[in-house]
């Protein structure tokens, strides 16, 4: 059953900014990549640590794991470099009435 979770107001997520939300014991990072809002599980599949403290490449829409350097595609959750090789979950993002929401199920 799909569920819609409120993240923040749209103006609280300017380009380059990250917001974290928790749903069902999963941390989710919501990123503004040059105007495109993207949501992905905040977990490196290599060591299960957080990704949100890593560098976000706004042009490529990727995040680099701060511990071992694996790069994840924020649009799909697929790792683009080792040492991570298992994708993490990504989530659709919607904006309505100035409020950012993610769809989870």
């Amino acid at each position: 059953m799909s569920e819609s979770i409120e993240v923040c107001r749209e103006d609280e997520l300017p380009p380059g900014a990250i917001r974290l939300v928790e749903w069902d014991e999963i941390e989710i990072m919501v990123v503004n990549c040059g105007g495109e809002l993207l949501a992905m599980e905040d977990r490196c599949s290599h060591d299960d640590g957080s990704l949100a403290e890593g560098d976000v490449d706004v042009a490529a829409c990727t995040v680099e794991c701060p511990r071992h350097g694996a790069i994840f595609d924020l649009r799909t959750g697929i790792p683009k470099t080792l040492p991570a090789y298992v994708p993490v979950e990504s989530f659709p993002v919607t904006v309505a009435d100035g409020v950012v929401r993610i769809e989870v199920d």
Binding site: E64, G69, A70, L82
Partner: protein, 477 residues
């Protein structure tokens, strides 16, 4: 006439690799175009990039890697000897020649003489499809068989590849080993220089090996080559690397990064005969990806160095991919060989083998450190890990650190480990057949490593046996 210095050097080498100094441990006079002062700075990293007239993205890559290197602590696992590495006491960049030549006649005389003495041009004429020779920080010679070149095979040093095939390099560079993977990979990413770039087009079979030879000449030198091998669909290539350095009383550092990409149905074999002098820290990151139906084989022979920490890895990313790691480590006086391998089964019906053999003598220490991982979903995977250690005396040491992680039920995984000592009965049996004690010891060791040595090309197998014999001299009795 031996000088006191030479006699002292010979004493220091007593008992191991007895003629190393004569055969490999010599050094040339330093007629360099540039030699960086000791120590690593942000400015030096930028200067290396400027020297090489690199594109902006590579300069940014290096500087970011420098920050990673400075921020990361030294690993606390592995060997206590790691604490002896002094990053401030190393020359990070030494330029011996201003370009990589395609004819030995154009290589500076001193450098050419060194490679002549090591037998490289002769080997090239006899049984190699291409040769790369790196002296200090950069390649001085690279040549590939014309017929292969006509088929589209690229075999050149990494600096030249970055200039001539920038898009191909950029597409693959650091995708297998990112700069922040570990401290030494970050260091290599910041100051990398030289190494090989190999691309084999779809379906092309490179029947004879390509060889790269790495030579350190300067005292307190750091060599940081960067190698990428891409075997496109259905192709095959065998790459062989060898390395030596002069024997000095202070330490040098060799820290390479090697990335292999075997596309669907391709096969890459990567053979190393590591014979650094016993004052070299050899801290290397090697990793491969094998796509659907592809095979990657690492044949890794470690004889030299003060400390080697090296665990070649294969990530089996496509269905039915196969990975193979054959490892020999030989540790003598003052040496620690911390070797092994890692295999990750990330796709169904993938197969792998790790065969590791280590020999310790005269107080040397060898360790097997390995990982076997079967990811969730990699059903039907099969793997066998065998690690055998041979101790030649009471003062030597062997350790095994195997890690196995299995995330799937429907798999077949085997692990065997043995530690044995050359027994009195074995020695007595051979000696009762009229074989001397020393010969008997050599026979036992050669029999122990034979399953791996037979996988080497014939010329290297002969060299390997000779090196093992040298290591064994004077060790029994």
């Amino acid at each position: 006439m031996a000088t006191p210095d030479v006699i002292a050097e010979q004493d220091a080498l007593k008992g191991i690799n007895a003629d190393y100094t004569e055969r490999y441990g010599f050094h040339d006079a330093e007629n360099y175009l540039f030699k960086a002062p000791k120590g690593l700075t942000r400015e030096l990293v930028a200067k290396i990039s400027e020297f090489k007239s690199e594109p902006e993205w590579m300069l940014e890559f290096r500087l970011k890697a420098y920050d990673y290197f400075m921020a990361r602590p030294m690993p606390t696992w592995g060997s206590p000897m790691l604490a002896e590495v002094d990053f401030d006491d190393i020359h990070y960049f030494v330029r011996a020649s201003d370009k990589s030549e395609r004819s030995w006649d154009d290589v500076p005389d001193d450098v050419k003489k060194t490679f002549d003495r090591l037998g490289i041009p002769e080997a090239e004429r006899k049984f190699l499809a291409g040769v790369g020779a790196q002296y200090e920080s950069e390649s001085v010679y690279h040549q590939v068989n014309e017929a292969l070149e006509a088929q589209g095979v690229i075999f050149m040093d990494m600096d030249t590849a970055l200039r001539e095939h920038e898009d191909l390099v950029r597409e693959h560079f650091a995708t297998i080993i990112p700069p922040n993977d570990n401290k030494l990979a970050a260091l290599n990413s910041a100051v990398w220089s030289g190494g090989s770039f190999v691309y084999v087009p779809p379906g092309v079979q490179v029947e004879m090996p390509l060889q790269a030879y790495f030579r350190i000449n300067t005292e307190n030198m750091g060599q940081f080559e960067r190698t990428i091998i891409i075997a496109d669909e259905g192709s095959y290539v065998h790459y062989v690397e060898g390395c030596t350095a002069p024997t000095y009383s202070s330490d040098s550092l060799h820290s390479a990064v090697v990335e292999l990409i075997a596309k669907p149905g391709a096969r890459i074999r990567y053979t190393t005969v590591q014979n650094w002098s016993n004052n070299v820290f050899n801290l290397v990151t090697k990793r491969a990806v094998a796509e659907t139906d592809a095979t990657v084989e690492w044949v890794d022979c470690n004889l030299g160095s003060k400390l080697t920490m090296k665990y070649p890895s294969v990530y089996l990313m496509g269905e039915r991919a196969h990975g193979e790691i054959l490892s020999i480590a030989f540790a003598g006086t003052g040496q620690h060989q911390d070797a092994g391998g890692k295999i990750v089964h990330a796709a169904p019906n993938t197969t792998s083998n790790i065969f590791a053999k280590s020999i310790s003598k005269d107080g040397g220490r060898s360790s097997y450190r390995g990982l076997l991982e079967v990811a969730k979903g990699a059903h039907g995977s099969k793997s066998k890990v065998v690690c055998d250690a041979l101790l030649l005396d009471e003062t030597s040491r062997s350790d095994t650190y195997p890690t196995i992680r299995i995330g799937e039920d429907d798999v077949n995984v085997g692990h065997e480990a043995t530690v044995s000592k050359v027994g009195d009965e074995q020695m007595f049996y051979l000696q009762s057949h009229g074989i001397s004690e020393e010969e008997a010891g050599k026979l036992i060791v050669n029999g122990f490593i034979e399953p791996i040595v037979k996988e080497l090309p014939m010329e290297y197998a002969v060299e390997m046996n000779r090196l093992i014999e040298l290591q064994m001299e004077g060790s029994i009795g």
